[in-house]
Symmetry: C4
Subunit: 275 residues, 4 copies
């Protein structure tokens, strides 16, 4: 039994890349996640949801069944991991780790309406929660982990950039509100309303549903548009440099130290001989 448990744990967590069963299992789960997201999207199309209602329901039930089995197996086998030793305490510790919570959130919306009387609107919202199954990707996708690393490493720079954008947004929206309010009392009825214009302008989206029409307002708007390009592009640049570094680290493009001529990305050989 212990052997079966260890084997299942291996397959679920795919320790080795040569494990064929783990490989098949991973591809199967990732495909299922993608199909689920696709199903949630298509189900909102009236013509499809009414015609294929039974198919959508069947696929959802099947997916939840698979994800539930996966969750229970993980819960059963988690004690194999050193971090989660202990029949109950270990399992509880496992259940509150972020990955396990995401797995739970992926199936819970299916079971909740069975036990609780909910009004229809709430159930519809719950259906959308199935999209959270996309978060299960985090466990399997290397790419998303790279993205996470980049965001984590650059968080200080990003916070500064976002902070600067927010201040610019508040200042720009307040000025434009004050200038345009008289000419367009509906479009620029308050600073929060003006901030909708501010975001559309600073991000250069420019829907065109709201824009200044007075000369002073246009002058201000022009300055905001120009400043906005600069300010918003900063996070982009920060992320880019972070990405480049992360990729370099991962795919081992060499980086030579000018002092000793060795590759920066290789671990230092035991330097005991140097002394």
């Amino acid at each position: 039994m212990q052997k079966v448990k260890t084997r299942i744990h291996e397959i679920l967590n795919g320790v080795s890349t040569e494990d064929a069963h783990a490989g098949i299992f991973h591809v199967f789960i990732i495909t299922l996640i993608f199909l689920n997201v696709f199903a949630v999207i298509l189900e909102t199309v009236e013509s499809l949801s009414s015609r294929y209602a039974i198919l959508f329901k069947a696929f959802d039930t099947f997916s939840v069944f698979v994800f539930t089995v996966e969750y229970l197996l993980r819960l059963w086998t988690c004690t194999t991991d050193k971090r989660f030793r202990g029949t109950i305490k270990g399992r509880l510790r496992f259940a509150v780790n972020p990955f396990a919570l995401v797995d739970l959130m992926a199936i819970l919306p299916f079971y909740v309406p069975m036990f609780l009387p909910l009004d229809l609107r709430f159930i519809r919202a719950l259906r959308l929660f199935r999209l959270l199954r996309i978060l299960k990707m985090g466990r399997y996708s290397d790419s998303l982990r790279t993205l996470g690393n980049v965001l984590n490493e650059k968080k200080e720079e990003l916070l500064i950039a976002i902070f600067a954008v927010l201040i610019l947004l508040v200042v720009a929206s307040s000025f434009i509100y004050f200038v345009e309010n008289a000419a367009q009392p509906e479009a620029f009825s308050s600073i929060p309303e003006a901030m909708w214009w501010g975001v559309a302008t600073l991000t250069t989206v420019g829907y065109g549903d709201i824009y200044p029409i007075t000369s002073l307002g246009r002058f201000l708007g022009a300055i905001v548009a120009i400043l906005g390009v600069g300010t918003i592009a900063i996070p982009a640049g920060i992320l880019t440099s972070g990405f480049a570094r992360e990729i370099q680290r991962k795919y081992g493009k060499r980086d030579i130290c000018p002092h000793c001529g060795k590759d920066m990305n290789e671990p230092p050989e035991n330097s005991s001989n140097n002394g």
Copy 2:
């Protein structure tokens, strides 16, 4: 008394990071500034300002009281600083330094209508001036200082970029005015009007309130749009590289080589043995 004064000066200026009182004071002031900005924004929403008029007024009075006390304490204790020695001369010199002026501007709009008879529109403008309290952040926020450093260091590059954009804007707007004026005499009634189109196009905001409709105008517009992307992105790139450098300097990510432990960004010491 001198001791109290020195202590207050320390708290106000937060010399040491281990000073708990200074820490509490800073968090309190920053929170108050944020709440003030929030209040100014919300007060422009008709439904809120009419219902909670008294609350807004009370909060504003309280904030001004705190900021006034802060300002007076700063004025009183500034003589502790070597730069502002001298009971009157030192305090005057302190009062005209940028940070003190910002502090004064944050409270003045409250007191002015008490002493001067002003028309309503001017008072409404003054209310917006309360937003300038956001500038007080400059004293406390590390992030804003980083941004300031970056802007300062890269000002030559930025000026070149802005200058190039302005010339492109003038030339593009003049051409489009000449080409489109006949077909759309209202939208492109003059070069300044055409510049509103120019800014929206060069920044890629593209509200869609004004755009060329003739073939030649569209051809020109297409070229401007393509050029614009290139020209506007330059300040973004400049700021990005400046940011990266500033952050590196600050957080001391020193790029240590794992083999020899030396800083990658310093020149290799004179390898005198080579010759």
Copy 3:
């Protein structure tokens, strides 16, 4: 005969840059490709296509004639190349290599309607296929090959970025659908419809044909717009760095140190004297 064949093969494939005939042939073919693309574009303009129908037809026939002769000559002479030895087997291997397939696709749409009875709409589609002649450029254009190299080298980073954008797109569109569906049941009738808004916002195109109008929707939209700028700019940054590297490699800007004349991008030779 063998000599003629070898010479034609040389001209067609332009081995040496000093070969005047090959140079003339290349310029001629590239010009013809450009004129073809131009003709296809202009032919869709009603007023031109009706007036100059015969000219367009004549030019197309001439082009297909040239491209057919080119294709047949390539097919005949390909056996000169070691890779395609063998009268029939070699030629078949040549015919299925991507460049040869593109050459075939450039002429096939002309001959198909001669042998197969097709309805008019299909023939119109075939006409557009003539645009694929632009792909013939791949054989001649250095620039396109550089672009291809860059895309190939950076494909992992680009896939991560596109994957992140797609997830953000799905999540953003689903949320906005849920929030705006009640207020705008037509514009946001389903998640796929909402994704059209999502793409326009994330790419900052912002046509303005569809946008949130509720407060919550606008709040969400603002966050998506800000996030979008960051996420979309990543592929741009990745491509940029890839481009810079490719160009450097190609034009051999070798970053020579003016003091010691060595390449900056090569590791310093083993400074064995140091130990």
Copy 4:
């Protein structure tokens, strides 16, 4: 007389930065150029041009007088320069150098209508040509020269990027034309019309005057929008890196060679001692 000529030549060309007269002259000319551009812009505003017609005329006459004197003095003193030796031949050679041509173009539109009978529309066009006086800045502005250097150095990369964008534009516009033509026969009446949409989408300007409405068209449009961001941002990135390098060269931020540890931007000292 020769001394006066040499002195005027010095002032006009500002050889030394310590020359006070040359400094005053440069500031005066640059100010005049800016005021001219400003005047041309303002003159297109109906209300201003009708009220201050005489002022505009007077200022234009004064400017042309100054620029004419400047041009004649340059023509007279150019023989001081070694490159333009020779009373007539030298002056002719001077007259056709780009800077002199720009100077001539800045004054010619004023004199032409005096000697040639022109219709009104042409004269209006000539008036716009006065904007070319902005090109005179090229002689005085360091910034514009930096920009020129960057564009020159990066021209290969920029050409590749523009070429790629153009191909993408043609392909995208052709596809969208084919897909949307049936649903919107007016907006997408031909490929050239569709290219207006293509430019607005690829540059992310997105005016919103023309956009796909069919499902397939929107799917295509989404892909174009996403590709566009990547393709268009490339020239921006290229320009940015070029800028960074140019500035670095100019303001001498140090760049250390990892081989010899010397500054890359300093000229190599006479390395004769090395051998």
